[in-house]
Symmetry: C2
Subunit: 394 residues, 2 copies
């Protein structure tokens, strides 16, 4: 398992262009596989699932295969009713025609303002312009308030043969995934059956994307899709094999990295916040507590102020419906103990203040009430977050 | 039913003083009834229930009677272990000695920093200093980041006889009550049995204090207590009588007013936000949706920016586990329709911008899927909120 410079796995091409949805930044793109790829997806649980998200879910459920995904930023095509569904469908069909493949092999993804319609003339012209290149412009074309593309590539072995897995995603606000987060795309040239891929993805989503939060709001367009096109010509990965474990580890690493990147690039954020819960009664208890702590506005604002206000952390733990012993909790901030047996320690304020100036804050919470662990990632709450969201539409 | 200038009901006295917990503001006080009063309470569901809150709960459960409540701001006496419990108990005993009553007739309430111990020398001296006056200083002595006292008095009739009900509360941050909010106290000179009073209080808490949110964080010290001392000498209120309805209406009005005041005075807030959900399948569905909408950081920041970003409102509705038809929702902002049948309307942006400059924003949400209604209150999310909470301890 080795992290390498970002590149597309064998047999994947892409492009990213400007079609006029945003003022000047790239806003439209696609990824295309030479051959149909095994596909798995996880989607928002928001009841107002956006038209493109629903369409992609249908396409993947059809045969667990995709060959291309077309995507845009600026407009979410969500809460757009029948017109929105027609627009997404037309986009899917036009891409299928251009690639001369079945429409059910094309996924569609949109992100941006809820309630606005896609300008289909621009979209149609854009589809005609898209090329199959080795550039990475599509990783920019999906961004909204993100400050930079979020990408990772790994090399891993399947039966002694090197495969590549590459992931990218967008997401900065409205981040509190319940199934997946706002547009994550992972490609690999390994060979794996779609059903098995879906099983691994669903399991890993719970441990990674579903454990981040920026603002407690779950988007209507959330979607993470994995494509495996087999072009490394490695043997097919079998369930419960060593290859399976390798693949799962690679996917876990890619998804954890992307999840952390989203949290770190949370709207207005200055710090990545990681909560590590240990010795919990169950993994679910640990995950609930970790996610609650990184999601508390009061904890987030205190960390922005570099204030070791542990009372807010323990109070947040107390609100959850997780199982734990309220009398045996230890808490440390960036390695400095602040709470032992649920009582505050006499720590040195200056030392803590200095420790909290770091760009990454780790909150270690030991419940001393079991053996399970759980993690979650978030960011601090800043003036900038308010500024960005007070005028998002203008 | 008539709102009057704030005053204590017959047979209640109080005082508020400075004992050095805060720099110069009042920080210690009590309310005292001439005779033991019927008492009912609602308390935080945070698993780290503070020592004073737990003690008051025990005292009220003992015989549904209280004669005095002593209270302080600045220090919450929460997460303070055995020492915290001893301190609260000593405070209760000292007040009982001074008043020459049973300790179980004394409630104790604290609010402020979690994890700090009460300086008992200052508390003891304070108890000696407290007087029984007609002033309202105690309504100031409980404040922390609140910008002003929150008080209300009503006159109402029981069997033709005039009774008074007066409520005050504190609360500005860490507001997302699950049973009651941060320190609310209601006194009345009406006569009512403690059990019946508890029934009415519990019902009304769900409709009022439990429907406000400032930041999604539930405090460890939440408590609302009602005292009825019978000193108006009106007949005892009987279950299901006309008097019962009058009393319940008065209590509902007092609690709704105080709940709104807390939301309006939310940390850093510039606007009170009220969500009115109508035609819902059940009251619980309506309440869930209303509370989710006023609790969304994205909705709150958009309203601070006076931006009619209805997509965030509908997306928030979609995250709830409430039952509703996603295709039939109408939304209006301060009376201006922005969504019909779940689709955006072509509203005039300037008109909306102007309407959203008001100090109170009303979000009307008609689900067209039943007959039930529900309300919730919150505030906008501002730079000031972040500022206050980045440096709360300093």
């Amino acid at each position: 398992m080795k992290e390498i410079d970002f590149k597309w796995p064998l047999g994947f091409k892409s492009d990213g262009i400007h079609i006029g949805l945003r003022k000047s930044k790239l806003d439209f793109g696609w990824i295309v596989s030479e051959v149909p790829a095994s596909a798995a997806g996880a989607y928002t649980t928001n009841k107002f699932c956006a038209a493109p998200t629903a369409l992609t879910k249908d396409a993947i459920n059809h045969g667990h295969q995709l060959q291309a995904i077309v995507m845009n930023s600026a407009i979410a095509n969500s809460c757009t009713g029948q017109q929105g569904r027609s627009d997404a469908l037309e986009e899917q069909n036009l891409v299928a025609q251009k690639l001369e493949i079945e429409p059910t092999l094309v996924g569609v993804a949109s992100t941006g303002l809820i309630g606005a319609f896609l300008p289909m003339d621009k979209v149609k012209a854009g589809i005609q312009t898209l090329d199959q290149t080795s550039n990475f412009k599509v990783t920019e074309a999906v961004l909204t308030t993100d400050t930079h593309p979020k990408t990772i590539s790994l090399e891993f072995e399947i039966a002694g043969q090197t495969c590549t897995m590459s992931g990218f995603c967008k997401g900065s606000g409205m981040i509190h995934p319940k199934m997946a987060t706002m547009l994550g795309f992972i490609t690999t040239d390994a060979t794996i059956d779609g059903d098995l891929l879906q099983t691994i993805l669903s399991e890993q989503v719970d441990l990674t994307f579903n454990q981040i939060t920026v603002d407690g709001d779950t988007s209507t367009n959330d979607m993470v899709v994995v494509l495996a096109n087999g072009q490394a010509k490695a043997p097919t990965i079998q369930d419960s094999s060593e290859d399976y474990e390798n693949f799962k580890t690679a996917l876990h690493q890619v998804m954890t990295y992307l999840a952390q990147q989203i949290a770190k690039d949370g709207e207005g954020a200055t710090k990545l916040v990681e909560a590590n819960v240990s010795q919990a009664p169950s993994p679910l208890d640990a995950q609930k507590i970790a996610k609650a702590v990184v999601g508390s506005n009061l904890v987030k604002a205190a960390l922005f102020g570099e204030d070791a206000n542990w009372g807010r952390i323990i109070s947040t733990i107390g609100i959850t419906d997780a199982d734990f012993n309220p009398a045996t909790i230890d808490i440390a901030l960036n390695g400095h103990p602040v709470v032992q047996q649920s009582l505050g320690l006499n720590f040195d304020e200056d030392t803590l203040k200095q420790a909290l100036q770091a760009n990454k804050i780790t909150i270690d919470i030991n419940l001393h009430d079991g053996q399970a662990t759980g993690q979650a990632w978030g960011c601090d709450l800043t003036y900038q977050y308010v500024q960005i969201n007070a005028s998002y539409r203008s």
